[in-house]
Symmetry: C2
Subunit: 608 residues, 2 copies
């Protein structure tokens, strides 16, 4: 061993001991010709070395540079200037001899938290970027989450069972990465998008509780912050209903909070139906760290609130934009009634950006003096504005922001605007964690081009228990495309659940289908012929014949979970060797061309 | 939850409680029309259900079959016939109601330890095979090894850091599996044969101690018991020398012995040079659970033992087979001097099989009455036989087996014969575990076709510290192919180590090169041009410029380790979803053809 101790462990109790350390030169401070201080760094910390007169000659011959790898032996002595910021700040090493183990060229960027290196440069020299404390802390957090999850799952009788990586291509949803087989020329393996069918087979095999922290692969066009390979905490349990899964896995996340962040998440994890999430927050993964729920004025005035008088008022305004709109959504922003013209103009510009795509923004100020002012004053009297404000649930001091237009776009815009205002007002605190279960998703979405159903979660998700009969008892084919909403399948809810943390989906799962007949109905609903279903999933249909237990599970996006816990927007910061947005590893320069000989052995050639 | 308890946890302390269990019907015993016993099974155990008169009608309508999935509620009662073999053997459940959760077709083979299912059938229905207790125990052992290894490594400050799966193809040694990139048409990723370069980069990045239990991929022609995807316990440490690695990782294996098998492996782990292993055991992974070391008669008589007189005798015999042979190797098999003619003939047939390929077998019986008998009595007097026996180190009662022929074939045959005799004599006990470090491997092998060096371990292994200068100071090119053995590189030893358990290499590693100059010499020795080295490994050479610490590591073959601990010959038994010898998953029917559309998106086409 090149060292007796690490750079993070020496303290006053070691004074007088002779020790040997090894690490990287963080800084060198030459005080005089006969006295230099060197901060020596390793993963565990920093220790100050004192290089005195006896080594002055060596130091002038073999001078030290930043990031040099050095081994130093000497006596632990008490520091005159103690540094209480540093675990080793009470001591320093009076070096009696040192050896340069390896030199270092000047790094292309500074190895500091606030580095001067741009993204591309840091990715090319990722091995240097990984030296920065900020990145190291992220990977340490990742390991802590990994360890915590494993401990919790172990204590709850889950078994880590490895599933294969070279599997069968069954494209459904995302594209598979495929691997040409040399031994079976013309045939391909696929890399798993998830171990879904394997974990279900393990339940059929009686393994009862399975987990894996496992790489998965999706060949998608990479939006910002997606990776072609990503990691899941993948879990499955037998003999459970939805409630059992919710309990078990909010327990997992609470344990991670405790182990990794020291947070006792004592409160009950909130639950919300998918319907409520869409209505109140405009999306299916609401950030509930703050309020500002959406008020749907059309819905309100169309009688759900029963406020017939308000409806009259709303229409009486004669504001065509509102009256013609499919949807009018309002957000009451607390304490912002005093926004200046400049500020409200800014917000208007914000919603008009192409990413949001609205035509404009209407606002009503609920002034603290009791007056109401609006950007549409010419259409509404102050009394009418007040009544609108009441209908929106606004309080004195609120700034009501109103968006009107087509249903889907307006909903998305309102959702984004709400998050933006939350951010602006500092309501989305990084160290505030709020969990939420979103429940009762629709089982199907409608695919217009193909006039068929698409599984919202995946084809193995069970309907709610009381809707199994509906699914089995009806023909999945949509005969009347125009009225697909009146097909019995349109209202089937999935026995599925998403876990949302601070506005991010961190996990999702479902109770699975475990009856062959129901699974066949599902495949038929997705437009698969019985032959295709058998070809792709015959092993699963077969397995359901031999005593499949009721089961369900969940998968957490491990990269995303780590990034949220680490207070970052980017999952790349939490992956040791990430790829860029073109799916390239710029450090390795991969992917790359391969030899003609390799292609030949694989029975493939390039298209020109 | 479909149950209040598992099938493995109820005992006398629960008597009188109402419980609900769920599981699979293992057996049904109908005692009378109004009394049946059902053994209900889950992962945790088996519990006996008593189905009495009250349910007789239901039972006759909804009869139960083997492997049916059943939920049953009833009272825990004391059993009249207790079963001490069973954890739950003191109790049974007086069932008050039951529900069939899922029916089961008759399995294609019996779900029992001694199943009637052939290999192919069990692989096709792997989800049923996995139900057998024998297989489940294997996967439980695998998880226990996983857990034990993680705990030990965690306690020793190793961090689990995930490395990428979509990397760059740098074929060296085995073939890479490749993955066509859709977004970078005409280019390919490779799946990692090991995370070797990444773990070294992590050391350069200062992570100090890394580990991962990780899938690796090799596209090789599969010999029996090789898998295209396999799992490694992969580890790397900084600032270490060979001795540190040996200590740390014999500690790991001892910990696994303790945690998984309850074995205190207190003895010192033996160490042997590669040279001694080859001489004394004929291979580099000797099974040291038993003796019977090889005696090399040519070497002995050529003076290493200094027994000049014996040499004369040996040659005096005038036995041409011995005198002409490059090598004569002897194994003294204890207690077998009374082998019959039939038995020695059997052994002769055994060595003549094509897999062994010897022309014959000579034996000398060291009889307990002090006499010596041999199959070559006409060449050697009894006194000469005795002297040969002494030279072989044989004892009274031994049967000496002698093989003669070309060096390499004879060595391999002797090694196999030794193992065969060990097996025959019951000296290779499955529950006897003997660890061994094999050290001081040659750094290079000679590749005759290309007249260049090949890295015996891999191109990142450092030579022994005192041979670094030899490597840097000499030109790796072999100018005189006929005398390659006199090239200075021929005698360089690797700073590498293999861990051997009961005759199987379970792990191997090395101290790594961490100096750019030395790494460049290594690549040159392997016949890589500087350009090729830069293209393939530029990132690693670059990393060595910026302060690379001395480091080393090891990788354990996780599948193999588990199979040895489980007392099995086959790693397939310890993999949940293994592939067959053609690399096929017969359950999934993978690999398989993919759509033309997929090929097109990937910019490739099939060769016809």
């Amino acid at each position: 061993m090149y060292r007796t101790h690490t750079c993070g462990e020496l303290n006053a109790s070691h004074i007088g001991r002779e020790v040997t350390l090894a690490g990287w030169v963080q800084t060198i401070r030459k005080v005089s010709n006969s006295l230099s201080f060197v901060d020596l760094r390793d993963r565990y910390g920093i220790t100050q070395l004192l290089i005195g007169e006896g080594l002055a000659a060596q130091l002038s011959n073999e001078s030290l540079g930043r990031e040099y790898v050095v081994q130093a032996t000497g006596k632990v002595i008490e520091r005159t200037n103690k540094n209480p910021q540093l675990a080793t700040g009470d001591i320093e090493i009076e070096v009696s001899r040192y050896t340069i183990l390896n030199k270092a060229a000047t790094p292309p960027f500074t190895i500091q938290d606030d580095t001067d290196g741009g993204d591309d440069l840091r990715m090319k020299f990722r091995y240097l970027d990984l030296r920065r404390q900020a990145v190291r802390k992220n990977l340490e957090l990742r390991y802590a989450v990994n360890r915590s999850a494993r401990n919790y799952l172990h204590e709850n009788h889950f078994m880590d069972i490895e599933t294969p990586f070279l599997i069968k291509s069954t494209p459904e949803g995302a594209r598979d990465f495929v691997v040409p087989s040399r031994m079976n020329g013309g045939q391909f393996y696929a890399l798993p998008q998830s171990p879904q069918t394997f974990k279900q087979l393990l339940m059929v095999s009686g393994y009862d509780r399975y987990y894996q922290i496992v790489k998965c692969f999706r060949d998608e066009d990479l939006r910002a912050d997606r990776q072609p390979e990503f990691t899941q905490i993948d879990c499955e349990m037998s003999f459970v209903e939805q409630e059992d899964i919710l309990q078990m896995f909010e327990g997992l996340v609470k344990r991670i909070f405790k182990d990794v962040k020291g947070i006792d998440y004592a409160e009950k994890v909130e639950r919300m139906t998918w319907n409520d999430a869409m209505l109140q927050y405009g999306n299916d993964k609401p950030d509930i760290r703050f309020g500002m729920k959406l008020a749907n004025l059309k819905t309100i005035f169309e009688g759900q609130s029963g406020d017939a008088q308000a409806r009259v008022l709303f229409e009486a305004g004669g504001f065509k934009v509102f009256n013609d709109a499919e949807t009018v959504l309002a957000i009451s922003v607390p304490g912002c009634s005093d926004y200046t013209r400049k500020q409200t103009d800014e917000l208007t510009e914000w919603v008009k950006r192409p990413q949001i795509g609205m035509n404009g923004l209407v606002f009503i100020k609920c002034n603290t003096d009791g007056s109401y002012k609006s950007s549409v004053d010419k259409f509404f009297s102050e009394e009418q504005l007040k009544q609108l404000a009441v209908a929106c649930g606004a309080q004195t001091g609120d700034l009501i922001l109103l968006l009107a237009g087509r249903e889907e776009r307006t909903r998305k815009a309102a959702s984004e605007l709400r998050l933006y205002m939350g951010e602006r007002l500092g309501l989305r605190k990084k160290d505030d964690f709020k969990l939420l279960w979103v429940l009762d998703f629709p089982l199907f979405e409608y695919a217009e081009e193909e006039n068929r159903w698409v599984a919202r979660h995946h084809p193995f998700t069970s309907p709610k228990p009381d809707q199994i009969a509906t699914m089995i008892g009806n023909d999945p084919v949509i005969k009347d495309a125009a009225n697909y909403l009146s097909h019995p399948y349109a209202n089937i809810k999935a026995n599925a659940y998403d876990m949302v943390l601070n506005g991010n989906e961190i996990g999702g799962g479902s109770i699975r289908i475990f009856q062959r007949e129901l699974q066949e109905k599902m495949f038929a609903a997705l437009g698969m012929s019985p032959e295709e279903a058998l070809h792709k999933f015959g092993f699963l249909l077969g397995a359901f014949e031999y005593g499949a237990p009721p089961h369900g599970g969940i998968a957490f996006g491990f990269d995303r979970l780590c990034s949220i816990l680490g207070g970052s927007e980017s999952i790349r910061d939490f992956i040791a060797f990430p790829k860029n947005n073109s799916g390239r590893d710029v450090m390795l320069d991969a992917p790359s061309a391969i030899d003609e000989k390799q292609l030949e052995e694989l029975s493939i050639k390039l298209r020109s």
